[in-house]
């Protein structure tokens, strides 16, 4: 495969409020390739958004990227470690929007109500391109057209609160694409939308990805969305990637008990009618009270006392790009 455009290694992003320390991202690693979609999946609170924000270095205080590497291959071929950049420096700002576009989780409140959508899209264009006011406006209209907003010449002057949720999310995508980035991070882009609109937005992302050869990071808690959209998957649990691999392998031969549980929770056409949807037993532990050893052990059906609660499991390579962190595998244990 080609060289990765973005390579995250052992990322650690911690929140240190007065009460303690939250290891929101605790050693995550993954690679992103041009023209491909990496799905990051996990329950709410697993650190998906913090991972995405770490890549742009826009983690809210008191959060901070404290370790690891985020190596970006810039458009001129230079390799830059984002972790080493000044958070508010010129290069970081150039990367935000210019190289990496970000679509946020909440389309309802991610646009300011005080400025027209055109104003905000044009701002994004002006920040990265030398264009006149007129050119920026034409581009903004073009972008709104690209993301499927009807009558873009008029919509460009409307305010976010005059649009439906679906249209707002389209505007957010236009905004993320304004400066022609090569990477698009979409953080649960469809969670707040109804089912029909969800399908349309996903279709739009796929279409744009093909046209622009974008590298896409698609964050979701929904394995169904992953099946539909992603080429590769990273399954995240409590700040760690517990399993990663090509979509086919993960879906056909999931290894980690957490991945298996996530897959059982997708509604399936093959399931018995009216059978209850499987849910993962137990709930996510409190951020300040992470269990020792493998953090999934209290909820795991394959829990091995004296092993799983001692030290965190190392990564085991199962095939070329299939990796899992679980004591059931590796160290000569048959799979």
């Amino acid at each position: 495969m080609a060289e990765p455009i973005l390579s995250v290694r052992n990322l650690q992003t911690y929140f240190r409020p007065d009460e303690g320390i939250v290891r929101a991202v605790d050693g995550a690693s993954f690679d992103l390739y041009p023209g491909r979609t990496l799905g990051i999946v996990g329950e709410s609170g697993c650190g998906k958004s913090v991972t995405a924000r770490s890549i742009l270095r826009i983690v809210d205080r008191p959060g901070k990227v404290e370790g690891g590497e985020i190596v970006l291959r810039r458009h001129d071929g230079r390799l830059v470690d984002i972790v080493g950049l000044d958070e508010s420096g010129a290069e970081m700002r150039d990367i935000r929007g210019g190289e990496i576009g970000y679509v946020f989780q909440e389309p309802m409140s991610s646009l300011s109500a005080f400025y027209t959508i055109g104003n905000q899209v044009m701002e994004a264009i002006h920040l990265h391109k030398r264009v006149t006011e007129k050119e920026a406006r034409d581009r903004a209209i073009e972008l709104l057209h690209l993301v499927g907003i009807p009558r873009p010449e008029q919509r460009v002057d409307s305010y976010s609160f005059e649009l439906s949720g679906g249209l707002r999310q389209r505007v957010m995508i236009a905004l993320a694409l304004a400066a022609e980035p090569r990477i698009l991070i979409a953080d649960e882009p469809t969670t707040a939308l109804d089912v029909t609109t969800q399908a349309q937005i996903l279709e739009l992302i796929r279409k744009i990805q093909e046209e622009r050869k974008l590298a896409v990071v698609l964050i979701t808690h929904d394995m169904g969305v992953i099946a539909e959209m992603a080429d590769a998957v990273s399954v995240m649990y409590l700040g760690k990637i517990v399993e990663s691999g090509p979509v086919d392998e993960i879906f056909h031969a999931p290894k980690h008990p957490y991945t298996q549980a996530l897959l059982r929770s997708i509604p399936s056409v093959l399931a018995e009618p009216r059978s209850r949807l499987a849910t993962i037993s137990g709930s996510i532990p409190h951020p300040y009270a992470r269990p020792p050893g493998c953090t999934f052990n209290p909820r795991c059906g394959n829990f091995m006392p004296g092993k799983c609660d001692q030290a965190p499991p190392p990564a085991t390579t199962l095939s070329a790009d299939h990796e899992v962190r679980c004591f059931l595998y590796g160290e000569g244990v048959a799979t």
């Binding site: 210019g98 946020f104 909440e106 409140s109 994004a124 305010y159 304004a178």
Partner: protein, 330 residues
């Protein structure tokens, strides 16, 4: 948008009517009718009122008629600018008031804008640098400012102004302009005198406004649109000024109107100390002397000014807030 304007305008008219009723009630409050009071005050100063004259006065004011007729007659006269006679001063109320009303408005507006000028930037800084040393320092100074009575501050500043700079900080005019008619010189003189009393009055509201601005902005800084603005590569200070500060300032536009009565009533003691020719001290004196036409008029005019101010701030709010323009309230 038009509906909103008309609605606000209608509300303003109703409020003005209600204020006029209250003012009328204030004027009617003392026992006996006001002609009795007028006669009493005249005879106290030695002159007598003939019976026919009293009768004529009663007829003029419709005192022999039902109360709503009296209100109507009074209101029609007020509408024509005749506010009656001040008992205590023996002169028409308009004459007693003179420029005081406008000077009050000038001092109050200057104080309000100064309050904003001081408090809003500090509030913004405190929110953006929450829990920094400066944030704590401003909070401390703010509470000290809140605890020290304004008139004391006025006295201290006057004292130091006098001792250190040989300044006479009282009043709004130099002696030579006190009674002079309006001219460029007098206006300039007013401008030179205005900052100090305005500053002293402004300091009263500053601490509170800093807290409000800080809290508003902290709220806004957490909103997703701020992260969105950062994520497109906007520099941090431009993110803050263009989006959350803009949103946090919005509510202040709607407070211009009703700050006026607060400043006027809060400024009475300071105005006495600094001998400012504003309506505050006059109102106090009118109430003490039961000079009801004067007191009623001041209440009426202040009320009407407040309503007009509120109406104007509603229009400003509509102008700056697209949601209200689009007819979405809240």
């Amino acid at each position: 948008m038009l509906t909103y304007t008309l609605q606000r305008f209608g509300l303003a008219l109703i409020t003005i009517w209600a204020i006029s009723v209250i003012s009328f009630v204030i004027i009617q409050l003392p026992p006996g009718d006001f002609v009795d009071a007028y006669i009493a005050s005249l005879s106290a100063s030695g002159s007598m009122v003939r019976q026919e004259e009293a009768q004529a006065l009663r007829q003029l004011y419709g005192l022999d008629q039902p109360i709503w007729v009296q209100y109507w007659k009074w209101a029609s006269r007020v509408a024509q600018g005749d506010f009656g006679t001040s008992m205590e001063w023996g002169r028409p109320v308009t004459e007693v008031l003179g420029d005081r009303l406008w000077l009050t408005v000038a001092v109050s507006l200057a104080a309000i804008f100064l309050t904003w000028g001081i408090a809003l930037p500090i509030g913004i800084y405190s929110a953006v640098r929450q829990y920094s040393m400066a944030d704590y320092a401003f909070t401390l100074i703010g509470f000290v400012g809140l605890a020290v009575p304004n008139f004391l501050l006025a006295l201290i500043i006057m004292y130091f102004g006098f001792v250190l700079f040989d300044l006479n900080v009282g009043g709004l005019f130099s002696a030579e302009y006190q009674l002079a008619p309006w001219s460029w010189g007098k206006a300039k003189d007013l401008m030179a005198h205005l900052p100090l009393p305005a500053l002293i009055l402004a300091l009263a509201g500053t601490a509170q406004l800093i807290r409000i601005m800080r809290a508003n902005l902290l709220d806004e800084l957490r909103r997703p649109y701020v992260a969105t603005a950062r994520a497109r590569g906007l520099a941090e200070w431009r993110v803050i000024v263009k989006y959350p500060v803009r949103a946090a300032l919005n509510p202040f536009a709607s407070t211009i109107g009703y700050l006026l009565p607060f400043v006027v009533s809060g400024s009475i003691v300071v105005s006495l100390v600094l001998s400012l020719p504003t309506v505050g001290p006059l109102l106090l004196r009118a109430l003490v002397a039961q000079d009801m036409f004067l007191a009623g008029t001041i209440v009426l005019l202040l009320g009407v000014l407040t309503v007009i101010g509120t109406f104007i701030s509603d229009l400003i709010l509509m102008w700056i807030d697209p949601r209200i323009r689009a007819g979405i309230h809240g």
